[in-house]
Amino acid sequence: MTGLWLLQGLMGLGLFLVIQAVRQGGRLPGRSSAISWVLLGGCLLVPRIPVGGLSLAQWVAGFSPGCSIPLLAVAAHAAIRALGGPPLFRPQELQSLWILGVVLGVVLYPASLGWGTWDPYAEGWGRSWIFLVLGVVAAVFLLLGVRSGYVLLAAILAWRLGALESTNYWDYLVDPQFFLIALICLAMGAFARARANPAAAAGSEAKKPLNAVG
C-alpha cells in the first residue's frame, strides 16, 4: 500500500510523543539522551509488529484517513522538540498551519458529506485553482520567511511523487486528524490568551511581527 510507510512513521512519532510526555511530565523542550533516541527507534518499529496476520500499521490503516504532509511536519516538529532539538516552526508558524488545517477542513468536509452541490474535493484531481492559490500562499510565506511555506511546497512535491495512496491533492494538505488537532490547538490557544489577558487577547497577537516570535 502506497503511503503505509508514512503512516508507520506517524504512528511511531505519535507513540514516542505520548511516552516522552509521560516521562518528562509534558515539559518542552525535552532532554536529549541515549534513552530518548532508543525509545524513538523502538517506537518507529512498533507499527511494524504483526498481529493476526497484519502489522499494527495495517490494522490502523483500515480505519485511518491517511496522513497529510502538514500533520507529518507537525509530528516531526514535536518529536524533535521532545528530543531537545531546535523547533522546526516558531509559534506563529505553527499557528498558520493550524489555521490552514481548520480552513481547509471547513471548506472540504461538510461539502464532502453532501452539503451543497459544490464539490471542492474534485478540484484536487484537476489542474485547478487550488494549486495556484496554495502555490501563491506558499511563495508569500517563503518570501516573508514563514517556514509553513515549506510544508505547502512539500505537499505539492509529495503529490507529484505520489507519496500517498491518494491521487488527490487535498489529501496531501489536510486529513481529518490534522483538522481535529488544528481545531483543538486553535481553541486552546484562544482560551489561553483569553485567560491571560481578556481585554487584549486578540488584538496584540495579530499586530506582533512574525520574526519577533521564536
Binding site: 484517513p65 453532501g114 488527490n168
Partner: protein, 389 residues
C-alpha cells in the same frame, strides 16, 4: 530579499511548474473530467424476431444461504459473466463475491460459481483490515478482460464502504490484486456502486456511484479516462439527501439522464439531466414512477429507447417490473412484470443488452438466489401492449 528566500521561491515555482507541465507525472494529458464524451452508438432497429423469454435461477454458491446485488458483463461475443455477493447473511465476515460464466454456444449453462474475493482476500491485497465485502460491479470492454469494482468495509455498515478495483485479463480465471480507490477526503468512506458503467469516447468508463453517509447523493466515477489527470476521479451531479444510487443512461455524446432511488420521504423515482458531458446537472425532479427506497436499473436500448427495471410500488419490494421510455425519460410505459408475490423480496435489478440485441436482467430473488431473465425486443414490446400504460 535573503538568498534562502529566493531559493525557496524558485523551488515553489518549480513545484508549480512540475504540476502544470503537460505530459509529465502520472499520465497528465491536458484537462480534467467531466466534461467527457460518452460512447453512444447510433440507434439501430432490431430485425423482427419471434418473442423470446427465458428465466432461470443462478446457483448461489457452495454453502451460501443469502445472496444480493448481482451484475452482468458480456466479456466476449455471446459470453456472459455474472457476479454477486453471498454468505451466511448480509454483511457477515464470511460473505464473498462469487463469479459464474456462461458460454455463448446455444443451450450452454452457467458454470458453478466460484469465490473471487473474500474479506480476507481483500485484507491481504489492500494491506489493511477489512471487515466485510459487498456490492460487486462487473464490467467488460468485450475483449475478454473483466473489471470488478467492489466495496470493502472496515467498520460500521454500508455507509462505511470504500471502493476497490480488480482486473482479470482472462475472463475471471486470474485476477490482479485489489486496488483501493481514494474518492473521499473524509476517511475515504461511503463510496458505493451498484449500476452499470458507460464507456467513454477514447477509452475508460463513467461509473455511476453514490454516497450515503449523512448526505445521500449520486456521484460519477471516471475510471481510466485518458484525458483525466489520474486514473480514477470522481464528480458529483448534486448533493443533499434527495436521491441516490443512480443509474446512468446516455442520451447522446454529451447528454445523459441519471435515474435515482429516493433518499427522502418522497416514494418516487428521481431524474436529473446533463447537456454538457456531466459538468452541470439539473436539480433532481420526479420522474412519474413510484420508488419504495429500493434500487433500480436502467439502460439505453440499441434502438434508442430507455429500459428500466424497478419495484413498481411505494412500499416493499414484492414485485419487479419493466418500463420503457421512447422520449428520453419524459414519459414511461409499463411493460412486463418479471416477478410478483406478496411479501417477497425482489430487488437490486441489473440490466444488460448484449451484442446480439437480447436483454439480460438479473435480480435478487428472495435473497436466496439470483434470477436471470433473458428476453428480446419482441417480447418486451408484446408485454407493453398487454400491460398497463
Amino acid at each position: 530579499m535573503k538568498t534562502p528566500s529566493v531559493v525557496a521561491v524558485v523551488a515553489a515555482v518549480l513545484a508549480m511548474g512540475l504540476h502544470l507541465w503537460p505530459g509529465t507525472g502520472k499520465g497528465i494529458r491536458g484537462r480534467t473530467v467531466p466534461p467527457a464524451t460518452w460512447a453512444v452508438p447510433a440507434p439501430v432497429q432490431i430485425p423482427a424476431a419471434p418473442a423470446f423469454v427465458r428465466e432461470e435461477l443462478l446457483e448461489p454458491g457452495p454453502g451460501v444461504a443469502s445472496v444480493h446485488v448481482a451484475s452482468l458483463a458480456e466479456f466476449a461475443p455471446g459470453r456472459l459473466a455474472a457476479c454477486w455477493y453471498g454468505g451466511s447473511k448480509e454483511g457477515a465476515r464470511d460473505v464473498g463475491i462469487y463469479l459464474t460464466v456462461r458460454d455463448g454456444a446455444p443451450g450452454s449453462h452457467w458454470s458453478p460459481p466460484t469465490a473471487v474475493v473474500f474479506a480476507q482476500t481483500a485484507e491481504r491485497e489492500l494491506q489493511r483490515y477489512v471487515k466485510k465485502v459487498g456490492n460487486p460491479l462487473l464490467f467488460s470492454d468485450g475483449q475478454g478482460q473483466l473489471q470488478l469494482l467492489f466495496v470493502s468495509i472496515a467498520a460500521g455498515g454500508w455507509s462505511g464502504s470504500s471502493l476497490n478495483l480488480r482486473r482479470s485479463p482472462d475472463a475471471g480465471k486470474t485476477w490482479s490484486p485489489s486496488r483501493r480507490l481514494v474518492l473521499s477526503p473524509f476517511y475515504n468512506v461511503s463510496e458505493l456502486v451498484k449500476n452499470a458503467p458507460i464507456p467513454v469516447e477514447g477509452g475508460g468508463w463513467c461509473v455511476p456511484i453514490y454516497h450515503e453517509m449523512i448526505g445521500k447523493f449520486p456521484e460519477l466515477l471516471w475510471l481510466g479516462v485518458p484525458d483525466a489527470l489520474t486514473t480514477a476521479v470522481r464528480s458529483r451531479p448534486f448533493g443533499g439527501r434527495t436521491a441516490f444510487q443512480p443509474a446512468l443512461v446516455p442520451l447522446g455524446a454529451r447528454r445523459a439522464l441519471l435515474l435515482c432511488r429516493t433518499a427522502g420521504d418522497r416514494t418516487e423515482l428521481f431524474g436529473s439531466r446533463t447537456e454538457d458531458g456531466g459538468v452541470h446537472w439539473s436539480s433532481p425532479a420526479l420522474v412519474g414512477l413510484p420508488n419504495s427506497g429500493s434500487g433500480i436499473a436502467a439502460i439505453r436500448m440499441s434502438d434508442g429507447r430507455i429500459l428500466l427495471a424497478f419495484n413498481d410500488t411505494q412500499s416493499g419490494r414484492d414485485n419487479l417490473r419493466l418500463a420503457v421510455s421512447a422520449d428520453e425519460g419524459v414519459t414511461w410505459r409499463r411493460a412486463a412484470t418479471v416477478a410478483s408475490e406478496p411479501g417477497a423480496d425482489y430487488s437490486s435489478p441489473y440490466l444488460l443488452q448484449t451484442r446480439d440485441g437480447r436483454f439480460h436482467l438479473v435480480f435478487t430473488w428472495k435473497r436466496l438466489a439470483i434470477r436471470h431473465v433473458e428476453f428480446n425486443t419482441a417480447w418486451l414490446d408484446a408485454s407493453m401492449k398487454e400491460g398497463t400504460p
